[in-house]
Amino acid sequence: MLQSFFQWMQGLSLSAYFLESVWPTPIIQCIHLVAVAVFAGAVLVVDLRLLGSGLKSASIPRLAGAVQPWLIGSFTVLVLTGIPQMTSTALKQYYSPFFWWKMEALFIGVIVTFVIRRIITSKEEGHFGPVWPKVVGITSIALWTSVTIGARLIGLLS
């Protein structure tokens, strides 16, 4: 069933457009990579703060609130530019173990960053004790690093 869904995506006119045109794919890839950098920055400054490092003079809720628009905005761009890249090579992605690695890490990363970390960063330092913010910070960094590695390996080893 999942395979037919990927076959359907591969057959979309959007996929054909990206496969048959010269510039759209590199342009989308460039926008995607710039969004990766913006997203990485927004994730890192808060995660480092949760680990008790980085911008230590900023309160956690204020810092998280300040970077939230960049986090949401860059994630939206990542999804929008990721969709045509996925559909145009849907069957390659389906058979790539790194695509599933990326998707699993992405799924957990979204929950950790947009749900669990949101709760942790809504309160001042000390509210959740000394351990949990650090666990969330290191988990978030590990997950998004894993997403990036998985994504890069789809192109290199699939």
Binding site: C30, L33, A37, G41, V45, A66, T148, I149, L156
Partner: protein, 181 residues
């Protein structure tokens, strides 16, 4: 002129290409995979962190944080990222010098990195000297804001041209006419 300058450095690239260790990396099954993956991950660290420094200077983010606090909090991580990013980048060129030598996007990226280095040096040597006078201001002086905007724009350029290095055929005709190989 550009073709002449590039022909001047060609022997250096050919010389590196002949190194046994360059050949070993080139023929390694996964060497390039490891280098490029580490290069992309460390790019996220470098560009992500420097983006917040630049946005603070430009007045686009974290305007309520003193400039010196942003620097002392983020730059140790930036330095780690720069070492890994530059190291893996150099190794990629070292392992395949004659792949990068005729690549338009590679040289475009290098030119922007030079401009970024000049911009950073000018900021450090001139503008930052007076940082104590304005580091708490939400809006930095015009020269500092300009340095931030320039850095942001050229880092976007570095990321874009870095990605386009894989598209060595999508280049202007005048570049192909140089006949670099």
């Amino acid at each position: 002129m550009l073709g002449f300058l590039l022909e001047l450095v060609r022997p250096v690239f050919e010389w590196v290409d002949s190194f046994p260790s360059s050949l070993a990396w080139r023929e390694s099954l996964n060497g390039y995979v490891y280098l490029l993956t580490a290069h992309v991950v460390s790019m996220g660290l470098v560009a992500g962190i420097i983006g917040y420094w630049d946005m603070r200077l430009a007045g686009m983010a974290l305007r309520w944080l003193p400039v010196s606090k942003v620097k002392s909090g983020l730059f140790p991580y930036l330095y780690v990222g720069v070492v890994v990013n530059a190291g893996t980048g150099l190794m990629m060129v070292y392992s395949q010098p004659m792949r990068y030598y005729p690549n338009f996007w590679f040289w475009f990226k290098m030119a922007m990195l030079v401009i970024l280095a000049v911009n950073a040096a000018y900021f450090h040597l001139r503008i930052e000297k007076t940082v104590e006078q304005w580091e708490n201001d939400p809006v930095a002086p015009a020269k500092a804001r300009m340095a931030g905007y320039l850095s942001l724009a050229f880092w976007v350029g570095v990321i874009v041209t870095g990605r386009l290095t894989a598209y060595s055929g999508l280049v202007p005709q005048w570049w192909l006419d140089l006949g670099l190989g």
